[in-house]
């Protein structure tokens, strides 16, 4: 099996004639955690939307484990093993956690007989979800909602997890509690993670590699330790 989880070449994308991504190429290996940082409007979320088929690129192509997806739709990329945890609270406030999980399993086409096992898998990684499975997502705290959002994505057993700023609105400790169990999945399942994050310190602690984006282009690629020097990081921003 090809160990490159995602290989994107020359991706360009924009909105209404304004180009947000400019000829971006990236490679994400199986089992790797790649952290993508950049200021607001740099194009990070757009890149994730393109990689999950929510936004069609104007140029370029991508492969998932060496295969071209059947088409650039969330359904096709989901079937290829990609899952996205979108920015903000990726839950439906009037649905219960169980309903959200049921919806995710249904959309992924998981057989009814296998659904209980999938949910148990997620609850092993994020056990606190057991405490509020029957509650409406809108009544949960920000951290609990983010947990549900990530748990929903894990139900599809993704090989590639795209996380868009999961720390927004969360205390650093809460973010650590949330992200560390996810990070272990790269070791246990070989899952690749592309993490867009503003909380640089916490994100660097679990990442293998860092990409810095500015104005739709990558301007730096290296190990997190390369950016330990605060001055250098500030210079890039």
């Amino acid at each position: 099996m090809n160990d490159t989880a995602i290989q994107a070449l020359g991706l360009s994308a924009g909105y209404g004639g304004r180009e947000v991504l400019q000829d971006v190429s990236l490679s994400l290996k199986a089992g790797e955690i790649l952290c993508l940082i950049g200021h607001n409007g740099a194009g990070k979320s757009t890149l994730l939307r393109v990689l999950f088929g929510l936004h069609r690129p104007s140029a370029g192509n991508m492969r998932v484990f060496g295969q071209m997806p059947a088409n650039y739709t969330p359904a096709a990329l989901g079937a290829a093993g990609v899952a996205l945890v979108p920015e903000g609270r990726g839950v439906f406030p009037d649905l219960t956690v169980d309903e959200i999980f049921g919806l995710a399993l249904w959309s992924a086409g998981v057989a009814k007989s296998a659904q209980r096992e999938r949910i148990e898998e997620v609850l092993e990684v994020l056990p606190r979800i057991r405490e509020f499975r029957t509650r409406r997502a809108g009544t949960l705290s920000g951290g609990q909602q983010q947990m549900v959002s990530i748990g929903r994505a894990l139900l599809t057993r993704p090989k590639v997890l795209l996380l868009d700023e999961p720390s927004i609105g969360l205390a650093p400790k809460l973010f650590q509690d949330l992200i560390r169990p996810i990070a272990t999945l790269r070791e246990t399942r070989g899952m690749a993670i592309l993490l867009v994050e503003q909380n640089v310190r916490e994100a660097f602690a679990i990442s293998d590699r860092v990409l810095v984006m500015r104005s739709g282009k990558f301007i730096f690629e290296g190990a997190p330790s390369d950016l330990d020097d605060h001055a250098k990081l500030m210079e890039l921003f």
Binding site: L54, P74, G90, D94, L95, E99, W106, S107, R152
Partner: protein, 288 residues
């Protein structure tokens, strides 16, 4: 006794209003499309049933009425609303397009089936004295039963099936639904199919009771819209309850006003809600 008679008639009418209002509320709640041609689905379903009844095919007629309403709803979603939305058309564009279709269909029905009232003769609508001075036809019980069963089925569909839960999710955040890998276009079509199917039983029962005319859809639409607002936008049970309430209000008002003012009573109720409780019965008050 007159009051009780009018109340029972109102419950029968209200049960049918509840069905059409629930269908409209489902479509509007899930897709945020103001489907003004919802009443047109009612007209089409009713006249399809009438045509089949006249060739002694009532069962086929009921099935064909449901199919016709569903096809009309799907056609509106696919060929009218979706192209408008693709070009980011405004609420007003959607309204005018739907209104135009409604007028065209009304005229076509008038040309094909003839203008004026048409109904079917059935023993189900023959009233009998069940209590002194109280007359009820068997269709009363049919209307109530159909409304209760269909509303229970719709509630079960929305809470116990994945497709139903997905429709509720569509109402809350269509963009997020795409991140779940679901197609909001397909779910929108499902909302139109289910919502439009809800009008067919009401149209059939109306054909058996008060009868139909080519303009009946406008009245149905106005009632559905009023019930959706009175019930609380986004609440199916609110729309159904409000539909029932408006039917009862229209009927009971006949004790005090002439028949031609009955429809106005529904709008008095609507205005009262807009002024005193704009969020409706089950709606949540919005703050600016």
């Amino acid at each position: 006794m007159l009051f009780l008679q009018l109340l029972l008639q109102g419950i029968q009418t209200g049960a049918l209003y509840a069905l059409t209002a629930a269908g409209f509320a489902l479509i509007f709640g899930a897709t945020r499309i103001f489907h003004f041609a919802h009443g047109t689905a009612f007209t089409i379903a009713g006249y399809v049933f009438l045509a089949c009844w006249r060739i002694d095919q009532p069962v086929l007629g009921a099935l064909a009425a449901i199919a016709a309403a569903v096809l009309f709803g799907l056609g509106m979603e696919r060929f009218v609303y979706r192209p408008i939305q693709r070009h980011e058309g405004s609420f007003f564009t959607v309204f005018v397009a739907a209104f135009g279709v409604a007028v065209v269909v009304q005229n076509l029905v008038g040309m094909i089936a003839g203008r004026g009232f048409a109904s079917v003769d059935t023993s189900l609508s023959m009233a009998e004295e069940v209590l002194p001075e109280i007359f009820l036809a068997p269709i009363f019980w049919v209307a109530i039963s159909v409304a209760v069963v269909l509303f229970a089925a719709l509630s079960a569909f929305l809470t116990r099936t994945h497709a139903g839960v997905a429709l509720r999710a569509l109402a809350q955040n269509p963009d997020l639904l795409r991140a779940y890998g679901l197609s909001s276009n397909r779910l929108s079509m499902l909302a139109f199919a289910v919502g439009s199917a809800m009008v067919a039983p009401a149209a059939i029962l109306t054909a058996m009771t008060t009868g139909l005319n080519e303009a009946v859809g406008h009245h149905v639409m106005l009632i559905s819209m009023a019930a959706t607002i009175v019930g609380g936008v986004g609440s199916l049970r609110g729309a159904a309850l409000a539909g029932l309430m408006l039917g009862v209000a229209e009927s009971v008002a006949l004790q005090f006003v002439d028949t031609q003012w009955a429809e106005g009573v529904s709008f008095l109720v609507l205005f009262a809600f807009i002024i005193f409780r704009p969020s409706g019965i089950f709606g949540v008050a919005q703050t600016r």
